[in-house]
């Protein structure tokens, strides 16, 4: 099995993270926002895995499972919020929720 160099693994994680971040910044649809958050979390998890395999430590995989749990919790709460959001505003546009004036 050919070991993938750490640099390439981290680069993939970086690209994924940036994609997710850009998505959070530019998208207005709240569903896409949730998905982008998921992508960013996975990018972080990937970075842990790469680091764990580089130093042969199990901590990376422990962190991955933790993040997976976190992502599941986040997705369930996030989807509940999306439902409530849609009921209240009849829209999925996140900027509609802004109630600040000034």
């Amino acid at each position: 099995m050919i070991a993938i160099p750490m640099e390439q693994g981290l680069a993939v994680a970086g690209v994924l993270f940036t994609l997710g971040l850009v998505g959070v910044m530019v998208r207005r649809n709240i569903l896409f926002l949730l998905m982008c958050l998921e992508v960013m979390m996975n990018a972080a998890a990937l970075a842990f895995i790469v680091a764990g395999s580089r130093w042969g430590a199990p901590d990376g995989q422990v962190m991955f499972i933790l993040i997976l749990t976190l992502a599941a919790a986040e997705a369930s709460i996030g989807l509940a919020i999306v439902l409530q959001f849609y009921r209240r505003h009849h829209s999925l546009d996140i900027d509609v929720a802004s109630e600040m004036r000034g």
Partner: protein, 621 residues
């Protein structure tokens, strides 16, 4: 003498009561408080005065330190009262004459709006004036000095609903403030040089520190003179006094004739040692007085308002006091100050009575033939006017003015003496012109007779004091002010006396010829070319108002108009506009958009991480 502080305390309490209770007081109660406080103060003065004269040897003094007013480093100003012959004389004039004027005012002002406001200002004035003459250091003197200036302003503008009165008040306040700035600088110089403001210490230290004619002592005395001419309405700051007649007549009697305007004379007499070290400045004092008394005398000749005639005569009489100070006739100056307080208060109060009798008419050419209607006021006017014109032997003014002229002559300043004599001549003319026009000739208004206890008692007392009786009052000035010495004093006595009597009588004769009956000669002069040219100039105080208007008021208004938008304030407007810019920049970020917050968190993280990276790279290499 322990009760000395009460002379100041009674008017101050009176002021506080009147000012806080205001309209809750009835007129009678306000009069009782306003007049009573001054009466108590006058009684205290009598008690303290008798005690002082019996227990303190000549030239002695009594000091009562109430508390420490200011204490900063070496500077120590006490709130202390200093009583000696000079301040006792002033105190007697202020509380004594002041009491009778207050009593008269309680009659004169009856029925006017703001009766209790009037008395609260008057009481505050007396309190400040007492502080001015009793203060043992220049700081306290300055406090009283500004206090009387404030009261003068408030009382000139007493009938504030008329715009002209407000303008007269502002003019008086501004012009005297110019003098006060000079005086403050003078006090600063004295403190910087001598390290103390205590007047007695200054009198001791000044000859040790300064030699005669030292530039610093010249500067200090010049600055003090500036303050004195402002307060005493002398050239070149005399323009405010004639307009100050806008106030009620008792105010003109008390503040603008008897007491406040003589504060300048008191100041110079009080700091006489400083002035004696600067002989040139002392001579300047005399010259200022001489010029003022001539100019004011000319102006008084053509006035048509009864109070303005008296205002110009006040300037002229204070000019005599300055002249006396200038030739070193200290006690003659203070003597004239006292007698002037008597007869000028009498004249102003009688003028007030005339004005009331003529239904608030002040133009003398609309009066006439009043002597039958109000004979008592006529008698007062005759005695007061006689004293003003120095009618020989019968009036108190003769003795004091004769003393000034004699000492001016004996001191060798003959120019000042002749100026004084010419001034006396014109004084006689304008005084009797006033009396002839107002009380003789044909009746032009329907005057009503006047009654009242508080009307005739003050007039009666001042009437007696303005006759030769007043000259028996002994002023305990020995040892306080240097005595006048001259080798030629005795031999020139009769010469000056005869000359003074002759001048006064010739003036009276002139006035009789010009202004008795039909006034044909006076009319033909005023209608001739020269008369038409001169009389408006003289009526407006010899054009000083016009000059100052062009020299100071117009340029000031011009600059103010240019700088309407205040260039300097623009600079300081930068600070709030910068703050506002920052505020709007920051509030843009607080827009409530979650995506925007996420972006800024990310950007911040990138920046911090980037900075850490850059730092690590730079410091590891």
């Amino acid at each position: 003498m322990n009760f000395l502080y009460l002379t100041f305390l009674f008017p101050a309490i009176g002021f506080l009561l009147l000012a806080t209770l205001r309209t809750r007081l009835s007129e009678n109660l306000a009069a009782v408080i306003g007049v009573g406080s001054i009466g108590l103060s006058a009684l205290t003065t009598v008690y303290v005065g008798i005690d002082f004269l019996n227990n303190v040897e000549q030239g002695g003094k009594y000091v009562q330190t109430l508390w420490t007013w200011m204490h900063v480093g070496d500077f120590n100003a006490s709130f202390g009262l200093h009583l000696d012959g000079l301040s006792l004389t002033m105190l007697g004039v202020i509380t004594g004459v002041g009491f009778f004027i207050h009593l008269f005012a309680s009659w004169y002002m009856r029925g006017e709006a703001g009766y209790e406001r009037f008395f609260s200002y008057m009481n505050l004035f007396v309190a400040s004036m007492v502080l001015l003459v009793l203060g043992d250091n220049l700081g306290l003197l300055y406090l009283g000095w500004e206090g009387v200036g404030l009261c003068s302003y408030l009382l000139i503008g007493f009938y504030y609903s008329d715009r002209a009165n407000g303008e007269a008040a502002i003019k008086a306040f501004t012009v005297t403030r110019v003098g006060d700035v000079f005086m403050a600088i003078g006090i600063f110089i004295i403190f910087q040089q001598l390290g103390t403001l205590d007047i007695q210490q200054i009198l001791v230290l000044a000859p040790q520190k300064w030699s005669e004619g030292d530039p610093m002592v010249v500067a200090a005395s010049l600055m003090l003179l500036g303050g004195a001419v402002g307060k005493s309405a002398q050239l070149p700051l005399q323009t405010w006094l004639a307009d100050a007649m806008a106030g009620p007549t008792p105010v003109s009697a008390l503040i603008h004739a008897a007491t406040m305007v003589t504060a300048g004379v008191y100041l110079i007499a009080r700091t006489h040692t400083v002035f004696e070290l600067a002989p040139d400045v002392l001579l300047l004092v005399g010259v200022v007085g001489a010029i003022t008394l001539l100019i004011a005398g000319f102006s008084a000749l053509v006035q048509t308002d009864i109070k303005r005639v008296l205002a110009y005569s006040t300037m002229s009489q204070i000019g005599y006091m300055f002249l006396a100070l200038g030739v070193g006739a200290w006690d003659a100056a203070i003597f004239h100050l006292m007698t002037h307080a008597f007869f000028k208060a009498l004249l102003f109060l009688s003028a007030g009575a005339v004005i009331i009798a003529c239904h608030h008419e002040q133009n003398i050419f609309k009066m006439g033939g009043l002597w039958k209607k109000i004979p008592f006021v006529y008698a007062c006017f005759l005695v007061g006017g006689g004293a003003l014109a120095a009618f020989p032997f019968l009036t108190v003014g003769f003795f004091s003015k004769d003393a000034i002229l004699l000492q001016a002559y004996a001191s060798g300043h003959t120019n000042l003496f002749w100026a004084g004599l010419v001034g006396a001549f014109f004084t006689s003319i304008y005084t009797f012109r006033l009396i002839f026009i107002v009380f003789h000739g044909e009746e032009k208004t329907h005057a009503h007779s006047i009654h009242g206890f508080s009307y005739w008692l003050p007039l009666g007392v001042l009437l007696v004091l303005s006759t030769f009786v007043g000259s028996f009052i002994h002023q305990p000035l020995e040892g306080v002010l240097p005595a006048f010495t001259s080798a030629t004093l005795e031999e020139s006595k009769h010469f000056v006396e005869i000359l003074a009597i002759a001048t006064g009588l010739i003036g009276l004769a002139f006035a009789f010829v010009f202004f008795w009956g039909e006034r044909r000669i006076a009319k033909s002069i005023s209608e001739s070319g020269l008369g038409r040219l001169l009389s408006p100039v003289l009526r407006d105080g010899c054009g000083f108002d016009w000059l100052y208007n062009w020299l100071f008021v117009k340029p000031y208004l011009f600059i103010a108009a240019i700088n309407r938008h205040d260039a300097i304030a623009k600079l300081f407007d930068l600070i709030p506009s910068l703050a506002k810019l920052g505020n709007s920049a920051m509030s843009v970020t607080e827009n409530g958009r979650v995506r925007w917050y996420a972006t800024s968190i990310a950007l911040g993280a990138v920046l911090v991480l980037g900075a850490v990276l850059v730092l690590q790279v730079t410091f590891t290499h």
